[in-house]
Every structure is written in C-alpha cells, then in structure tokens.
C-alpha cells in the first residue's frame, strides 16, 4: 500500500431516489444531482472546474451540460462508452486531477427510461439500418438480451455453468434490495410481482426471455440518475465527508472477432491494469460492484476481475456467498443492483455511488469495516462490441 497513489478522491455523491419520476426531465436530474453531491462534499457550484459527461439526458455532452449548468470548466470530457462511461470518466478524472488540469470534477447521469417506456433489452434492432454494422445485424432480430444470452450459452457449453448457479446472482442482489428502502420503493413503483426475497427455483420458473436467460435474470428498466464529485487530495482533505480514494483505474474494449472467445469480457484486460495501479489483489477486495445487466454479465466479470478462474464461477457463487452477510465469495452489489434496485440504461454511475457508501460505512447492507471496493462497468453488448471500465476505491 506504501506506493499507492492517492491523488484523487470521491468527496460528494447523490443518487436520485425515484425510479419512476414523471415530474422532471433527465437534464434536471443531472443538474439537481450535481448540486446535491456538491452540498454533500461541502463544495460550491463555482468550485467545479472539470465536467465529465456521457452525452446522456439531452445534455449535449461536456459542452452542452456546462452551458446548462452555467459554469466554465477547464476540463471538458465527453466519454460515452455506454454503461461503463462513469468508470472511464472516473479514470480520466484521476488522470486529469493528478496532472493538475482540474481540482473539482463532476460526473452526472439522468435518465427517464421507465417513464418514457424505452424497451432497452427487447427493443432491438433500434437503428434504421444503413450502417456497416446495422446492415449485417438488423435482418437477424438480435435483441440486446440475445447477445448476453449467447455469451451465457457458450459459457454453459464450455464450462458446464448452469442456470441454477447463475440464479444465485439474482437471489443475492434481491436480498440486498429488500434491505434498501429506495430499491423496495422502486420495485413497487415499477409494479414488480412478489416484492420479497426470491429463491433459485423462482428464478428458474420465471419465463424465458432469451434462452438461457430468464426474466428474473434480467435487470429492470427504471428512471434515475445521480452525481459524483471527484476532488484533488488537497481539496479532499478539507471536504465535509471522509474522502474515498480512487487508487486504480483501467479501461478496455472488446468486440467479436472470427476466432474470439465470447466467454471473456473486456474486464480481463481492464482489471489487471486497475489492480496493478492500485497495488491490491482481488482477494483483498471487500465489495464488488459489478454491472448486473443480466446474471451472465456478473458471472463472466467475477472471473475476469480475478475473483475466480475462468470457467469456475458456477462453483464459486453456488454457495450463496455473494450476500453481504455470508462468506465464500466476494460481497456483490449491496444496493440491490440493476436486477432489483435501478437500471435506467447506464448503471456505471450507481456502481461508484454504492462503493462510496460502503467505504463511508453508509450502505443499507453494510460490510463491517469495508476498506476496498472494485467497481466494474460494462457498456455495450457482452458477446459483441463492449467496453469495460474498472475502478478500485479505498477508504481513507
């Protein structure tokens, strides 16, 4: 730990509480979340000199959002890599702050996917056709879910992974969601059936959406958003909250190739970079916040992040050890995840928010004395073109 760089820290957070919110626009969610995250940090609007934006929520990227906010940053970053945008942006903020380019950076997210009834997983193809990629994909009716399902099928074929094993991910995250009042309210607002702990058998008996993925293995579609304030070490030392240090960041992409292996994700490349920079090992991690778009996403990434070997995730998770109060596997997605708390489309923001709550000791499923967290965002399509961003966070 001695040589670990602690140049940048998350000092302010805010998560939009409502998952179905007819009264706001997406960019209002972003701006209000930034204001409340700055308040959390004890910083002011005019302290912001870095704006990182995923071009979401009619914001117009770093340019348009800055104009809407009414600030003049010296770092403007519009990194859009789907759901992993926020891990990429956090890595970029670490780099920019360490280089002295800015001192107070804001990342924000706002989405109205539920109230606008956006069919994220089952709406494909969405493009009108006419690009090199759409022309080879649109005629085949590959939904977003189907890409993940094909990765799951291949994982099962190569390693003997079962649906019962994958269901443990749904079971653990639902258990965490039931302890999180905002997640429980989300499931009510979004008209979930059976808002309670679920069993492996119930996951198996839920209807098939795209073989081998069942309904209860798929994330919800919600409204939501939030914001994060990342500050330099000198600013962080004077902030209202204890800093949560960003000690490692890695980014990578992966896409389908003619002889490629779709049971391995971009995380296999981004994680060693992040863990190497942080000088920690997966075995030392207390909390894993992994993008749970579907169960298979988490399964593949537990392997790629190094919590178990490739192909062995089925055995690793089958004892139910992903729960915050059990041993045997790393604690997963203590907010309830995309499966049972919120998924407005790009969940990377919430991976960082819950990591911070854990390392501050404020989670509703708190791991006692949590010191280290990993947040891994996945953007795009597992099994197809996707981005992976890994961030290692440390308590003060």
């Amino acid at each position: 730990m001695a040589n670990q760089a602690r140049n940048a820290a998350i000092v302010g957070i805010y998560e939009w509480p409502k998952r179905l919110d007819m009264d706001v626009s997406a960019i209002q969610i972003k701006a209000r979340s930034i204001a409340l995250a700055l308040e959390d940090a004890g910083l002011s609007w005019q302290d912001v000199d870095g704006v990182y934006d995923a071009n979401d929520g009619e914001g117009g990227g770093g340019l348009g959002l800055s104009a809407y906010l009414g600030i003049h940053p010296t770092v403007i970053d519009t990194t859009q890599v789907g759901g992993s945008s926020y891990e990429f942006q956090a890595a970029h903020a670490m780099r920019d702050i360490a280089a002295g380019k800015c001192r107070v950076a804001v990342l924000s997210y706002g989405s109205k996917s539920a109230s606008q009834r956006v069919p994220i997983g089952t709406g494909g193809p969405r493009g009108a056709g006419g690009t090199w990629q759409e022309n080879m994909e649109n005629p085949y009716g590959t939904t977003l879910i189907a890409n993940y399902a094909m990765a799951a099928r291949r994982h099962m074929h190569e390693y003997g992974t079962t649906s019962e094993q994958l269901a443990e991910i749904s079971v653990a995250t639902r258990h965490h969601a039931m302890r999180n009042p905002q997640a429980v309210q989300a499931m009510k607002d979004l008209q979930f059936q059976n808002i309670r702990d679920i069993t492996v058998q119930e996951v198996m008996e839920s209807r098939m959406v795209a073989d081998p993925l069942h309904l209860l293995e798929c994330c919800m579609v919600s409204d939501g958003g939030g914001a994060i304030v990342i500050a330099s070490a000198d600013v962080a030392r004077g902030a209202k909250q204890k800093p949560v240090w960003l000690i490692g960041g890695g980014e990578a992409i992966k896409y389908r190739t003619n002889d490629g292996d779709i049971t391995t994700s971009a995380a296999a490349q981004s994680a060693p970079i992040a863990f190497g920079e942080a000088q920690v090992k997966p075995a030392e991690i207390d909390i894993a916040m992994i993008y749970d778009s579907f169960t298979i996403t988490v399964a593949v990434m537990l392997e790629d992040l190094g919590f178990c070997k490739k192909g062995e995730v089925g055995g690793y998770i089958s004892g139910g050890g992903l729960r915050y109060d059990r041993k045997g596997a790393v604690t997963l997605n203590t907010d309830g995840g995309g499966l049972s708390s919120n998924h407005p489309g790009m969940r990377g923001m919430f991976l960082l928010l819950e990591s911070v709550r854990q390392l501050r000791g404020q989670s509703t499923s708190q791991v006692p004395g949590a010191k280290l967290a990993v947040a891994h965002g996945n953007g795009g399509l597992l099994g197809g073109t996707h981005a992976g961003g890994t961030i290692i966070l440390a308590a003060d």
Partner: protein, 137 residues
C-alpha cells in the same frame, strides 16, 4: 414470406455481400497482402490495414458457435417468426457470422452448440435482399 428488416444502401462496405445474397452466394473477403479473412465486410484489412481485399464465395457450411432462442422482441418485423434462434456460426472458410438458425421443429430443443449447418437464402416480403440463414444438416 418473412418480413425481416432489410439492409439499407448506399453503404459501400456491405453492399457487395448483399448483392451476392441475391445470387445465393455467401461472400466474404480475404486480404491480398496478409491473407487474413475479413468479416464483417469493410474496405480495409483488420489485421494489417491494407486496402487490397478480394471477395470470395463460401461453400456455406459451418458450425454453431453459440445461439439463443429469442422469445420477446418488440420490433414488429419479427412478430411472425415466433420464437426464433439467433446464432453465431463459424463458417468453414474462417469467419464467424451472426445469423438465424431455421428449420428446427422446436428451436428450444433441437439446436445445439457444435451442430453442423448449411446456408440458405430466405426470400423476404420486406424487400429485394434474400437473407442468408442456416439450417441444420
């Protein structure tokens, strides 16, 4: 006849592939400089960047690398297919293609990873381009 979404042109990378489909040819590219197979089609070699690519016609035989049976797609173009199988097929000439598997009595039971398949060209009511799909042999 099925009513799938059609490719749209002008789009110079994939147009020769789809013109081939009209003649029941499954076409792919090889780099004249480094001999790498290039798929999906484009104007440069993904291994070496060369613009010298030539078109070839596959025999249309391959192996299912993975698949999923889609039960729910909110796009109306796929409504009349019922539950349908999307797949990656490793075509024998060395390229992996996103496609559909047709001709299985029950796609949830009769399709397997590793199964041998043969291309066929499925005419569409939605347009002039027959869509290359694969059937178990």
């Amino acid at each position: 006849m099925p009513n799938r979404l059609m490719p749209a042109f002008p789009e110079p990378d994939t147009q020769p592939f789809w013109e081939g489909a009209k003649r029941s040819e499954l076409r792919y590219q090889r780099c004249d400089t480094c001999q790498s197979i290039v798929f999906t089609p484009r104007a440069h070699c993904t291994a070496c960047g060369s613009a010298k690519l030539s078109w070839h016609t596959s025999k249309g035989l391959g192996t299912i690398y993975t698949y999923s049976v889609v039960r729910q797609n909110r796009n109306p173009a796929f409504a009349d297919l019922g539950a349908y199988a999307v797949a990656y097929v490793d075509v024998d000439e060395g390229f992996r293609m996103l496609t559909n598997i047709v001709g299985a009595a029950d796609p949830t039971k009769d399709i397997k990873v590793g199964q041998r398949v043969q291309v066929e060209f499925e005419a569409q009511t939605s347009g002039a381009f027959p869509v290359p799909v694969f059937r178990p042999v």
